[in-house]
């Protein structure tokens, strides 16, 4: 007796869920935030120029909340002629071969420390915290009106000895620093 209303509710719930499956396909370009962030990191490697050329490009992920699973499918791919590697880092001495360092917003309390570790090295620092560029990081991924965009701090970029393509600067939501 008891299970009957439960079963019928479950059944209608299942129907609703199936509908949502079918419905979601019409979204087309809608993607999860994690996927987009991962794609951004990989793309930045294409639009930024590092002083010394190497055979590998390494994206380093700092801290607890990492994009690792989303980046896994990119690992080993060729990005502008270099093999892409993904690595987790926890301390300053592990940064030596990082081209890009991603610091998640959950590690906000450690931004200052991480930026000091990477200071004056050719490392592109990226975070998904809006304040990151103001704190001295190079790129902040920003959620704005249902889209993921990015801010760039050209002073920080210059301090790291990196060059960004003009196209990238044009696509940025906000460019801060003097060197536009």
């Amino acid at each position: 007796m008891r299970s009957r209303p439960l079963l019928s509710t479950l059944r209608s719930l299942a129907a609703v869920l199936l509908l949502s499956l079918a419905g979601s396909s019409s979204f087309g370009e809608v993607a999860s935030e994690g996927q987009l962030k991962a794609a951004y990191l990989v793309n930045f490697l294409k639009y930024v120029e590092w002083p010394a050329s190497r055979s590998t490009a390494t994206i380093c992920l700092f801290g607890r909340d990492s994009l690792g699973p989303y980046l896994a499918s990119y690992e080993g791919r060729q990005i502008v002629g270099r093999e892409l590697r993904i690595r987790k880092v926890t301390s300053p001495d592990q940064l030596a071969d990082c081209q890009l360092l991603f610091v998640p917003d959950t590690e906000e309390s450690r931004f200052a420390a991480v930026l000091r570790w990477s200071d004056k090295q050719a490392i592109l620092t990226v975070s998904d915290a809006e304040i990151f560029t103001r704190d001295g990081g190079v790129i902040a991924l920003v959620r704005s009106e249902g889209r993921l965009q990015f801010d760039i701090n050209t002073d920080a970029l210059g301090r790291a000895g990196l060059k960004a393509s003009s196209q990238m600067l044009r696509l940025a939501r906000q460019v801060s620093g003097g060197g536009r």
Partner: protein, 680 residues
């Protein structure tokens, strides 16, 4: 052509994650800036490098749960048992030993413990922080004393408030629901200069009394809560920052204590009647935190908190308390090590008035001081593969002697998508003030031939022997796997040994003549031990960009040691039955369109038995399965309307029987709530 399109649509529907991620893979920078994102955020869900059974509840999860009180939000965490007692009281624990005040769970708000020293548990009925002001809740099950100090025996709940930078401008949320539920939250945040931000928020919540389960009549648990919260963040540059919090809480809630014995004209015992009480709780706290970064790269944090609080239970009990907390933490990362160390001190003074035969307190004015230091290191043995964690904490509570809490963990990450961890830990729980100092009538054994037809009143009183801390020690094994970029699972199994568990033992008897009855004195001793076994599973599946499913399941089993003492043996048997073996939940979060959301939450618990307080015989609390639904719709950019239904399925039920102070059982009923959120 058309066929192909239909086929690809179907493929998208059933294998959406694979195809969608490929599409994103190929996007250039320009396309990325134009792609819409789903609001199904997986932020903080990736805990793949924490060697513990950890779970994070995000602000988004809280909002979409449709819950009004924090314990209802905690139901989504595997291994956390939540049972509602009446309109606002809850029993919340991790991994067994639940109670009105579950004393083995540590709860912190921004690093400040809200574990009440007298009741040794959390006053969940007071809204300690508005749900809207929470950034995230981190739950770590299992012993956490090596880091968090005494009482973090079965788990730690860390509530982290929102940074002022996410709380700029104004926001108001108003809710109205069945059972006289009403809530109002309002916030305004601003900026003093480029580096200084502040916010102020208020919340008020009201609920009309619930229904009594036995009679269907009205209970007296009318709730009135208020919270006022202020936060200021100042960025001082170069890794220095300052945060100030001020928080005030007012709560009032009625209750019935079934402790008033009734006799017939002939002097024979008729049963227990209720004392109607009004419980009010107040607290004001002021907190400050300063963080800085030294030139050598050491990150430090110094935090101070001052709290004035009070509990008044009309006519029976009044407590006033002042607490000072000082906490220092530092972190230094070098050569594969991530070193964390710190120390804390707490001074808490109370003044208790209790003037009745129902409850009385020894040492009415009492100050407790507690000091602790800890060190912890995560040492990367093989880069990207193997991390060894080791730590220990020493605490010196004024009563209870020194405690030492070590922990060690090994985390192996064979591939990017798998990780395995093994953890050993030991943790103490220092006996609460109530366990040492309270005398209270706690129960009644109904008249029987053995008691010569007289009722036997159980009176718990301070022990003549010194109570030692309770202790837990054991192992956990965990496995996490990221099956695809959109599907992950997490499994933890554990086996723990509890020693020196505190329980009551009958000592002397008093016979009073009029009316004729027997008083059985009960004293508390460290006299029990138990094994705790369990497994927790969770899965998180982003089925498509717009739909996410989360499954959680926990199995818990306590086995108490048997004793030659018949009282202890009976207690052991009862305690084993007094918590549910199974807990499970399935949540679905669906974004119908950018402006519409539909969420469903099926959750259930197995049945269990508890003493029919104040009587000693066991009553079954039946298992249940129920459904919560929420539909939210945005109107323009700044207004959102949401309709939530809770406990929509299943027969009328109770979820718990209060043990701490016996009170009649309240029914958990279906409810509807309509909320409007407005940003300005």
């Amino acid at each position: 052509m058309r066929c192909k399109k239909v086929l690809s649509l179907m493929l998208l529907a059933w294998g959406g994650d694979v195809l969608a991620s490929n599409a994103v893979d190929e996007m250039g920078l320009e396309e990325l800036t134009k792609a819409d994102i789903t609001s199904v955020s997986r932020k903080s869900q990736s805990l793949s490098d924490v060697p513990a059974a950890a779970f994070v509840i995000s602000a988004e999860d809280i909002r979409r749960s449709g819950a009004q009180a924090l314990p209802d939000v905690l139901r989504m965490v595997p291994g956390i048992e939540v049972a509602q007692i009446d309109s606002a009281r809850y029993a919340v624990t991790a991994r067994g030993f639940n109670g009105r005040f579950a004393n083995k769970l540590q709860v912190l708000i921004d690093g400040r413990s809200v574990y009440h020293p007298i009741f040794s548990g959390v006053m969940w009925e007071a809204d300690l922080i508005a749900l809207e002001d929470i950034e995230r809740v981190e739950v770590i099950r299992g012993p956490g004393a090596a880091m968090w100090g005494v009482n973090a025996v079965n788990g730690v709940i860390n509530i982290i408030s929102r940074h002022t930078r996410h709380q700029g401008g104004g926001e108001a949320v108003a809710s109205l629901g069945t059972q006289g539920k009403a809530g109002l939250y309002a916030r305004y945040g601003g900026q003093l200069d480029e580096y200084t931000r502040w916010k102020m928020s208020v919340q008020g919540r009201h609920a009309e009394p619930s229904q009594l389960y036995a009679s269907g009549g009205e209970n007296v648990d009318r709730l009135n809560n208020g919270v006022l919260d202020f936060r200021l963040d100042k960025d001082l540059g170069a890794g220095h920052d300052l945060t100030l919090w001020a928080n005030a809480v007012r709560s009032s809630l009625g209750d019935q204590w079934r402790l008033n014995p009734q006799y017939s004209g002939g002097g024979s015992f008729l049963g227990m009647n209720n004392y109607l009480i009004q419980q009010s709780y107040t607290s004001q706290s002021l907190m400050g935190r300063y963080r800085w970064l030294s030139d050598s790269g050491v990150e430090s944090s110094l935090q101070m908190a001052m709290t004035d609080s009070g509990i008044e239970i009309s006519e029976y009990f009044k407590e006033e308390r002042t607490t000072y907390d000082l906490d220092y933490q530092a972190r230094y990362a070098f050569a594969g090590h991530d070193l964390l160390w710190g120390g804390s001190h707490r001074t808490t003074s109370d003044s208790v008035t209790s003037a009745t035969s129902v409850v009385s307190m020894a040492n009415p004015d009492y100050t407790d001081r507690s000091t602790g230091v800890f060190v912890h290191d995560d040492w990367t043995l093989i880069r990207d593969r193997l991390v060894l964690g080791a730590g220990a904490r020493w605490d010196h509570p004024m009563r209870g002697g020194n405690t030492f809490s070590p922990s060690a963990s090994l985390m192996w990450t064979p591939g990017r998508s798998d990780s395995v961890w093994l953890k050993y830990a030991r943790a103490p729980r220092v006996p609460a003030r109530a366990e040492r100092d309270v005398t209270i009538f706690a129960g009644v054994v109904r008249p029987s031939a053995e008691s010569m037809g007289l009722p036997v009143f159980l009176r718990t009183r301070p022990s003549s022997r010194t109570l030692k801390p309770e202790e837990v020690e054991g192992f956990e094994l965990g496995y996490r796997k990221q099956l695809t970029s959109n599907f992950s699972t997490d499994l933890a199994v554990y086996r723990y040994r509890y020693k020196n568990l505190i329980s009551g033992l009958p000592v002397s008897q008093d016979f009073s003549m009029l009316p004729l009855n027997i008083i059985q004195n009960v004293e508390t001793y460290n006299c029990m031990a138990a094994w705790s076994n369990g497994a927790e599973f969770s899965a998180d599946w982003l089925v498509s960009a717009a739909w996410r499913l989360q499954l959680s399941y926990a199995w818990t089993r306590l086995e108490f040691d048997r004793s030659a003492n018949p009282t202890l043996n009976a207690t052991a048997e009862n305690d084993e039955k007094s918590g549910p073996r199974h807990f499970g939940a399935l949540r679905s979060q669906w974004n119908i369109s950018p402006i519409q959301q539909f969420d469903a939450w099926i959750r259930g618990s197995a049945g269990f038995y508890r003493a029919n307080a104040p009587y000693t015989e066991l009553v079954r609390v039946p298992g249940y399965m129920t459904l919560d639904l929420r539909y939210g719709r945005k109107f323009g950019k700044d207004v959102e309307l949401a309709l939530s239904g809770r406990n929509l399925l299943g027969p009328r039920r109770i979820e718990f029987i209060s043990d701490y102070i016996p009170s009649p059982q309240s029914e958990v009923t279906p409810s509807l709530l309509l909320s409007v959120r407005w940003k300005f």
